[in-house]
Symmetry: C2
Subunit: 210 residues, 2 copies
Amino acid sequence: METGQKAPIGRPRGFDTEEALERAMRVFWEQGYEGASLTDLTGAMGINRTSMYAAFGNKEDLFRKCLERYTEGPASYGARALREPTARQVATALLNGAVRATTGIGSPAGCLGVQGSLAAGEPGSNARDALVAWRDGHVSLLRDRFQQAVAEGDLPPDADPGLLARHLMTMANGIAVQAAGGITRDVLQRVADMTLRSWPPATGPAQPDA
Amino acid sequence: METGQKAPIGRPRGFDTEEALERAMRVFWEQGYEGASLTDLTGAMGINRTSMYAAFGNKEDLFRKCLERYTEGPASYGARALREPTARQVATALLNGAVRATTGIGSPAGCLGVQGSLAAGEPGSNARDALVAWRDGHVSLLRDRFQQAVAEGDLPPDADPGLLARHLMTMANGIAVQAAGGITRDVLQRVADMTLRSWPPATGPAQPDA
DNA sequence: CAGATTCGGTACCGATCGGTACTGAATGAG
DNA sequence: CTCATTCAGTACCGATCGGTACCGAATCTG
């Protein structure tokens, strides 16, 4: 059985699963989990319901797979940012990446990880929880990266890695909301620049007013 | 006809419209426009469909009225912040208010103006557009307020009021996303404090790296 | 009282929701 | 070739969607 990997039995699949997943991802991205009906999804994927269920499970499974694809595709700037040499460069790459990804010319506005499902009724609760975990996972990765920066002396010893990570993710998610509302890339880039100009912000007690 | 204001003809309404609106607002807040079904809404309001349609129009009208109520209730910190004497105090009141409102103990987590409808399918597009306009309206008010601060010398003459306003709203919306994900008030307050510690951020060219 | 008017409950509308049974077409193995 | 296996299209499932027709109950004016 040298050819174990190949030669699937039966009629071969008539569509490209990667291409179909890409199109489904864009529908979820544009319309959110609850707003994307199976008719919308399969219409964009170019297949019918039966093929979708056979290939991907159900709507929830499809959403999860789209989220994975999103993470490795449009949101891959996050993983790249973590590999930047300094904490400041991590922050810069993250926010610049967020601006670019949420305002891509050929892509839906905003971020799938935010508008995919932020508030939902009971049938969409699993998708919502999946996105909460997704966002929190990124914060944890950022926190670990900043913890490392503190250990390396790249950030001051009294810096709070968790707080810096949360602050940065808050800004990135805010950018996603703006982008979903149609704010243009150049405006959001200036907003990101403004944040980065005073980064890292002080972690200690509040500075005197005025 | 001195009593023109009173004595409505016919059977009097058997429920309090303000109370019903308050409960509907919370359902939209928790579940979003698309995630809140008429059954959910009328169930929480304690009335049946017929009464809801007679009193409020339809689901879209109900949502708009809930958004108004939200603006004048839980989101009234926005209008209050604009009346603070200095730009810095405006920013502080806004972010502190956002933290409190999105993490209220007896209220749903997050912000109706964000998670009410961020991405939606075609049937929810009107609600989504209403929220986009709602958020942009608040940015415009902030921009005008900061423009005034520049004129008063409260902000430096080279400050960009529109950019400062957008930056602040981006942070507030980011806070709303965090809160929707269950992040607690004390954490978000520290994030807000961190932002305010370096506010207003410089508007000019980027500061030298490191 | 009678008559007009409005509210509230039931029962229903067509459309759409996510999901599936069934059937025929296309491919492998023998 | 035959036969098992898989894919894809149709047609459908019960449930729910937002919205409404209808009618009795309740309250006004006169």
